[in-house]
Amino acid sequence: MAFTIATTVDEALERLADGARPVAGGTDLVVGARQGKVPLPHDLVAIDRVDELLTIGQDDHGARIGAGVTHDRLLSNPLIVGDYTALADGAALIGSPATRHVGTIGGNVMNGSPAMDTGAPLVVLGARIELRSATTTRLVDPLELWTGPGTTSARTDELCTACLLPALPARTGSAYVRLEFRRAMEIAVVGAAALVRLDESGSVLDLHIALTAVAPTIMAVEGTEVLMGRTVDDNLTDQVAALASEQASPISDLRAGDRYRRHTVGVMARRAVQAAAQRAQGTMIDVPVNRAIGIGAAR
């Protein structure tokens, strides 16, 4: 058993090249090992003290979120909450205050669960995932990164160093909504993220939807082009719900049956589009949307 605490990315990459596995917050890796899912790797490199991975930065092209940024920083960061609100919605739902305090975006992305809460937001926001090895750096589309439940296309010597988000045009709003049976310590039964861009008259210029926990990986909804130029009304959101339900391929498990999942993912998609459109129009809806409207809201 080897355990190293890296302080620089290069040091971490060197250890990965030697066969070590990275551990950030450990909320998937260690908890999973204790549950007997997968044994704890014999060679671990801790990356939670690598300063380069802990920053949230912004330039003309957009935002750069270090892989080691924790969920509680995401949900309270003014840039994320202001411009990339769906991501803040997702981060705010993860586990409990303790989970959010140590769990990281890099860990969430690289763990590759189909129920991950930052995944659908990253997809609709147009994120690229930065992967570095000792010798290479590449940017990948998250939908190409996730290859199945708990698997990614990253090589074992690659570290996720950041998530890059493009700058978003004016009148763009995003939101993430998930179905949950309780208000903390929950895993998405299903979920949906939406990004909506409107023109000055309120017609749709851009609309993206991605779904959580209804396929082997986070999935994008296709065919939203037909919604361009329309206003976000009940007709449009009905169509959104139908698209999401049709394209989902949910399974039945302990948390829910497939029929129920297929129906409710449509409901989540509808609500995500409604919330994203309101935000695009400048209406404030507190993070997370789940607590402000819809499931479990206090009204």
């Binding site: 549950q35 409990s96 179905l179 049976f181 309780r182 208000r183 903390a184 310590m185 929950e186 895993i187 302990l254 948390r255 829910a256 049956g257 029929r259 129920y260 129906h263 409710t264 409901v267 819809g294 499931i295 479990g296 809201a297 206090a298 009204r299």
Partner: protein, 780 residues
């Protein structure tokens, strides 16, 4: 970030009750982390225990070879049934042994136990044990289990030791009925008859502390530290199964991290003691979360309830019949009284002149059921109270009005023929409905549901000593056990009241079978009711001693001495006084200040009903009644229900410690919300548990807690100290039922399956078929 709320103002904001400041004696230890739990204990040379479980729900052992385990380095003891006395135990029906002998009857039945120098070695040893099984057909469905020709869980049941009064045969572990008047004849005369069927799934107590045990022998004397709610039961179980005299065994409970009934009964103390004896070293067992869910014989029982009620033209109940099947699981644990108790809850706190309820406790190859907070009540009350709203709807009467009309009142007779001279039920109905504004206009996705419930006070033997040391500070030495209810803490208040002292002048010595006299333990809401009697008795003896001493010093008659504010003084001349500390110092040089108390438990009242399989559950001492009114909102697109506010009104007699009492109601309500909506233990076809983990077993969290407003109705005093009744279980009775009734208003009909999960609610809303729905099952 936020300043901690002042507990007093916090509770005052939450409740209609005035709350005096009273800090629990164990509070500082628990919140600072200085308290020690059983899993924290270390002994020199201590070994670690692991159990080998059957892993199948019904099978015959054809070969068992422990030799490979014994050769693993660090393994010092490997035990099976062959290594302990051949004793069958369990209250009521002696149906189990410490280790499986021939047949295993649930998946977590213990086949072998290992003690080793490390957890890893113990795990390796358990994995090395070789067992061959011949599969037997599992029994998992209640109705099928009762049908002729069903495979039997205990084919030799008739040869077991069975207590008088228990009717057990076939797959019936116990049958009870309550009969009053002539229900079939009266039903035939009824103007309206409504029948309903309800099915409740099983769930768990899920205490946050998984259980832990340490056993240590010194010569022939055994000390066991255990996270049990009932140390005297644990001691009795050890003595029975290992054949030891009572006075050689001491059971000590360190701080207990919650129980909710899950830690009642005798569990694994004897296994660990036997390992410690074989290994000649102290041995420790600590359960994982998974084991805490799967292994103990404590699970809230699943239930099927059929109810039929007949009403006359004015809406009065003329007759009720009921049929109940309760999933006992593989062994009876402490379930023998469940059928009759469930029958009382299906009868309910109503005036029912003609009653006939039958209840079957059914053996299955599931984990054994056992007392979880208010056993049988939340499910049975949910069924009855859903049925009650159906009755009211059928005759077009407001459901609250229906309960006023038919519920018990002062000087009425209840369904078992017991006469109630005083009861706060009608006041509870008024208070709870007022707390949530029943009857006001609500948005179309919101509703208020109302339910009433009841629960006995259990009258038991108990004992305590009270002494005052030379400095005037006191000690209460009691056999009582604390599981978080605060009842033991409240004993200080009772002693202080008798002695004119401050509750905080007293220290408690408790949870130790060799220190305190016998007590039933943290079970049956009985601690304050019975141990309070004992402490008051003991304190009164000390008060007499103090009065005699004060009388001598003040040259007055002992009868003229009053003890108040820490001094003894002469009535009418408050100037003539002497402090209790001074009297204590005097006593320390002569006859010590020392009292003992026990007192006789209150006798059960006479009842008019005829009871087959009588377990004493139809005659209730100091009955507690309650009404919960719940304001909910339904998300019709997903079936998710959110509980917004609960108004809880309780008649638990006189409330001695309001802050502790409020905590009990809040906790009971939150548990009720979980049982109503999210808590379910899921089984596969063969009876394996599928969700023995907190991620998939959905307890309510702090973030889910509704607003809870409480009112205590104190107009009907009980037989406990100062007019108290029990309290800990009553708040867990009516919440799920009230939520169900709110939900039925929004859906248009009841959800007949508990818990009423979002998916089940959505299925009802969309007219879909839930294959496990009771009515559908019966049609099929």
């Amino acid at each position: 970030m936020f300043p901690p709320p002042d507990p007093v103002s916090y509770y005052q904001a939450m409740t209609a009750v005035d709350v005096p400041r009273f800090v629990r004696a164990d509070g500082p230890d628990k919140v600072t982390g200085s308290g020690r739990y059983a899993a924290d204990l270390q002994q020199p040379g201590m070994l670690h225990a692991k159990f080998l479980y059957a892993g199948r729900t019904h099978a015959r052992i054809t070969r068992l070879n422990t030799e490979p385990a014994r050769t693993i380095p660090g393994v010092l003891a490997v035990l099976t049934a062959a290594d302990v006395p051949d004793v069958r135990y369990s209250p009521g029906v002696a149906d189990r042994r410490l280790f499986a002998t021939d047949v295993v009857r649930y998946e977590s039945e213990i086949v072998a136990a290992v003690a080793a120098t490390s957890v890893e070695a113990a795990e390796a040893a358990v994995a090395a044990i070789e067992v061959d099984y011949e599969p037997l057909e599992p029994v998992t469905e209640l109705e099928a289990a009762l049908a002729d020709g069903s495979p039997l869980v205990h084919p030799d049941l008739d040869s077991y030791d069975i207590d008088d009064g228990i009717v057990a045969h076939g797959n019936t572990a116990g049958f009870s009925s309550i009969e009053l008047g002539d229900a079939p004849a009266a039903m035939a005369t009824a103007a309206t008859v409504v029948s309903s069927c309800y099915v409740a799934d099983s769930c768990h107590a899920a205490p946050i502390e998984p259980r832990a045990i340490v056993a240590q022998w010194e010569g022939e004397k055994l000390t066991v530290w255990s996270s049990t709610q009932v140390p005297f039961d644990a001691r009795a179980g050890i003595c029975q199964t290992l054949q030891l005299p009572t006075n050689r065994v001491r059971v000590i409970v360190p701080h207990l991290g919650g129980g909710f009934g899950g830690k009642c009964g005798f569990h694994f103390e004897a296994h660990i003691a036997a390992l410690a004896r074989a290994a000649r070293r102290p041995v420790k067992l600590v359960f994982s979360r998974r084991e805490e869910f799967m292994v103990p014989d404590r699970r809230r029982e699943g239930m099927i309830v059929d109810i039929t009620t007949g009403l006359d033209d004015n809406g009065h109940i003329v007759a009720r019949t009921g049929w109940i099947a309760i999933d006992n699981g593989a062994y009876i644990a402490d379930c023998a009284f469940f059928p009759q108790l469930a029958a009382m809850h299906v009868a309910g706190p109503y005036q029912v002149p003609n009653l006939q309820v039958e209840a079957h406790l059914v053996y299955t190859n599931h984990q054994p059921s056992g007392s979880v907070r208010a056993p049988t009540a939340p499910q049975a009350c949910w069924a009855l109270e859903s049925h009650t709203d159906e009755l009211a709807a059928t005759i077009g009467m407001d459901p609250v009005e229906f309960r006023r009309l038919n519920g018990i009142d002062n000087d009425t007779v209840g369904p078992s023929g017991q006469h109630y001279e005083r009861t706060g039920l009608q006041e509870c109905i008024t208070a709870a409905t007022e707390l949530v504004g029943y009857g006001r206009d609500l948005p179309e996705d919101e509703a208020i549901g109302v339910a009433i419930g009841w629960w006995p006070s259990f009258s038991m033997p108990a004992g305590a000593y009270v002494k005052i040391d030379d400095d005037g500070a006191g000690q209460i030495i009691t056999g009582a056990q604390e599981c978080g209810t605060g009842a033991v803490m409240t004993l200080r208040q009772l002693a202080a009241d008798e002695l004119g002292m401050d509750p905080e002048d007293f220290q408690l010595v408790y949870q130790d079978t060799s220190a305190g006299p016998y007590d039933t333990g943290a079970t049956g809401s009985q601690t304050l009711f019975n141990n309070g009697r004992a402490v008051v008795g003991a304190a009164r003896q000390v008060a007499e001693q103090l009065k005699a001493l004060a009388a001598g010093q003040l040259e007055a008659a002992p009868a003229d001495i009053v003890l108040a504010d820490g001094v003894g003084s002469v009535v009418g001349s408050p100037g003539a006084s002497v402090s209790i500390a001074e009297l204590a110092a005097t006593a320390a040089g002569g006859e010590l200040l020392l009292g003992h108390g026990s007192g006789s438990p209150t006798q059960a009242p006479e009842v008019g009903a005829t009871c087959v399989g009588d377990q004493g559950m139809a005659a209730w001492v100091s009955p507690q009644v309650s009404c919960h009114a719940v304001h909910i909102r339904l998300d019709p697109d997903t079936g998710v229900v959110r509980v917004l506010k609960v108004g809880a009104a309780h008649d638990s007699g006189r409330i001695i410690n309001p802050m502790g009492a409020l905590g009990q109601v809040h906790g009971g309500v939150i548990m009720g919300v979980g049982q109503a909506l999210t808590e379910i233990t899921v089984y596969d076809h063969d009876g394996h548990q599928l969700n023995p983990m907190l991620l998939e077993y959905k307890l309510q969290t702090a973030a889910d807690g509704p607003e809870i407003e409480v009112k205590f109705i104190e107009s009907a005093p009980g037989d406990g100290p100062g007019g108290a009744k029990g309290l800990a279980e009553a708040p867990n009775v009516a919440t799920a039922a009230a939520i169900a009734n709110g939900l039925a208003r929004l859906i248009g009909h009841p959800v007949r399956h508990l818990p009423m999960t979002a998916e089940r609610v959505w299925t009802e809303l969309t007219g879909g078929i839930d294959s496990t729905d009771a009515t559908k099952r019966q049609e099929a």
